[in-house]
């Protein structure tokens, strides 16, 4: 027990270390001069100014020194300064992540619920027309690029039918406004999340229902539905916990496309703008944040797993 915990901690730490070093190395290894990117196009700037900026950014110091400075800064929660956004990256991220978390969180929740419920049904009765249809639908869905679906949704529901607004988290800061603005993006992301959960749970239920305990539950006198929801689903949905944690990164990136399409000013558009503008500090910071989020989600999942699955927390 202790050794696995230690091993896990070590792995989490080294993942984090890798992410941090990757984060540090990426912009420095890649082509292009970050300093030149800080200055707008078509603006005449003397070389002296460029050098000044370079010194200001510490890009002329030896790598190791830069790395140490970087680590020190990280320890102070200083993720650097974005010259494009004119504020410390940490502040930008802090400001942006809230809404994205809300948007992703709601979608993940809905997606998990929908996926588990429908997946359980489809796995339990895989031969019915409904569950075949569901399977086909979700497989198709999981095979569609997120932005494509988002644009189609927007085209149909917002433009053609005029049911929902086109952009933004809200117009006025009221619950109704937020709900109507977030309805489409959340639906799209939730569908994606659900499609992944659906497929996993369907397979998982198909497999779990063959387990002896399911047969024994029947031998105890439980009805079909009770066997499914009391015995099979809990076992079958255990993998979803870790899946959700691992998928956290995926969902963030799915959110990226959806945010662009729906002009949501969250992490996704932040990253997109940073890519377009080569805003390295923001890119680095966002990546670090997402990686950290995934890491934390995984730690939570491990913890949750131990709580839910007695096999893991077996006493000595």
């Amino acid at each position: 027990m202790i050794s696995t915990a230690v091993k896990k901690t070590f792995r989490y730490l080294s993942s984090f270390a890798l992410i941090v070093s990757l984060n540090f190395a990426l912009p420095r290894l890649m082509p292009g001069d970050p300093v030149k990117n800080l200055i707008g196009e078509d603006v005449y700037v003397s070389d002296l100014v460029i050098e000044e900026l370079r010194a200001e950014l510490g890009l002329n110091r030896p790598l190791l020194e830069q790395f140490l400075a970087y680590i020190q800064a990280l320890l102070r929660f200083d993720l650097g300064y974005s010259y494009h956004l004119h504020s410390p990256v940490a502040e930008v991220l802090q400001e942006r992540i809230g809404w994205t978390l809300l948007f992703v969180g709601v979608s993940v929740g809905l997606g998990a619920g929908l996926g588990v419920f429908l997946g359980a049904y489809a796995g339990w009765k895989p031969e019915t027309k409904l569950s075949r249809g569901l399977s086909c639908g979700f497989i198709l869905l999981s095979c569609t690029p997120p932005y494509f679906l988002a644009l189609l949704f927007l085209g149909i529901f917002a433009f053609k039918l005029g049911l929902f607004p086109f952009k933004g988290f809200y117009d006025t800061l009221t619950l109704g406004s937020i709900a109507s603005h977030l309805f489409l993006p959340v639906s799209v992301l939730a569908l994606f999340s659900a499609s992944r959960n659906f497929l996993i749970l369907r397979g998982s239920v198909i497999q779990e229902k063959e387990e002896l305990y399911a047969l024994y539950a029947r031998a105890k006198g439980l009805y079909e539905r009770e066997i499914l929801f009391r015995h099979v689903v809990k076992n079958a949905s255990l993998p979803i916990i870790t899946l959700l944690a691992l998928d956290f990164g995926f969902l963030f990136s799915g959110a990226l496309f959806i945010e662009i399409v729906f002009s949501l000013n969250g992490m996704g558009t932040l990253i997109y703008d940073a890519i377009i503008g080569k805003d390295y500090p923001v890119l680095q910071g966002a990546f670090l944040l997402i990686a950290l989020a995934v890491l934390i989600a995984n730690i939570l999942a491990d913890f949750l797993y131990a709580v839910v699955d007695p096999r893991v927390r077996r006493p000595a």
Partner: protein
């Protein structure tokens, strides 16, 4: 032991029915019905896949024109141009047909890279235990925790837009789940009687891995390979949308991104933006369905991957 058969083992019929394992009456009949939809899926998947495969192999047979030939731009579908023409007057159908090869290539090439890496790491870590395995799996876990798509997007932003770099990045970043399954399965297999006997008999580790372990991993590797292909194709399309694709090689993703950036969507030219989108979806579907077909019916492996230790 094989998990799925547990319930039926109780019935004691499995082993001595004297039928080939694949057609154990009970097991098969149990799986037959769900097997059926998989089969219908698979037949569809196979057909679709071969359709795309032939498009990729012999585009000139299917495409009415060369993809670079130009006609009147922004034409609606007509007899001459079944899917109309795009912004510079290329025949969209021809472009679509020629795009198949590039999209499939991106998918398969990156899946090959990830499969080779995943298989070797998983196999080595599973077969030889000890510190090397610890290090390999530790590394795998670390990679597993990296948020893939954001990282790919960021790498795509930093690197110059080239299909080859894209393939490499996608391949190098998507091997870890395969490595985990392979390792889990290898660990299981190396404890099996036949590997132990082979070791006793004196076969070399290499021989054992090649003849005893890898063949028994095929049904684990193939679905993963297919799913990796599918996800690489989606990633390529997504990156193209972000403007991180390689516009000189006209994959479906690039076509789609042109359709959006050059007014196809807004002019409601569904014959321009829908076909590449549907092609991606259906090609990925075909590949994924093939993958599901290869999937071991046990699903034990799946569970093991997901569970972190």
């Amino acid at each position: 032991m094989q998990k799925e058969s547990r319930a039926y083992k109780e019935l004691g019929v499995q082993r001595n029915l004297g039928l080939p394992k694949e057609s154990y009456t009970l097991k098969e009949s149990g799986l037959q019905k769900f097997g059926k939809i998989f089969k219908t899926f698979n037949r569809g998947g196979l057909l679709l896949f071969f359709f795309f495969f032939f498009l990729a192999l012999f585009p000139s047979l299917f495409a009415p024109y060369s993809p670079s030939e130009r006609f009147i731009p922004y034409e609606a579908p007509s007899e001459a141009h079944l899917l109309g023409t795009n912004d510079i007057g290329n025949d969209i159908l021809s472009e679509l047909v020629y795009g198949t090869r590039i999209s499939l290539m991106v998918g398969f090439a990156s899946a090959c890279i990830s499969t080779v890496i995943g298989l070797s790491i998983g196999l080595l870590a599973g077969y030889f235990r000890g510190w090397t395995a610890e290090v390999l799996m530790g590394f795998t876990d670390v990679v597993l925790l990296l948020p893939k798509l954001p990282l790919i997007i960021i790498l795509g932003a930093f690197l110059r837009p080239s299909v080859w770099i894209l393939i490499l990045v996608l391949g190098l970043l998507s091997w870890e789940s395969l490595a985990r399954i392979v390792r889990a399965k290898t660990l299981q297999l190396r404890e099996s009687g036949y590997v132990k006997s082979a070791q006793c008999i004196g076969f070399s580790s290499f021989h054992i891995m090649c003849t005893d372990i890898i063949p028994n991993l095929v049904h684990v590797i193939l679905p993963k390979f297919m799913l990796a292909t599918a996800s690489a194709m989606i990633s390529e399309a997504s990156l193209s949308f972000l403007g991180l694709g390689d516009p000189s090689l006209k994959s479906w993703g690039i076509m789609l991104s042109f359709a959006f950036s050059r007014g196809g969507f807004i002019r409601d030219m569904w014959w321009w933006y829908l076909p590449p989108g549907l092609c991606i979806t259906f090609c990925v579907l075909a590949v994924a369905l093939l993958g599901f077909g290869f999937e071991p019916k046990t699903g034990v492996a799946k569970k093991e991957v997901v569970k972190l230790q």
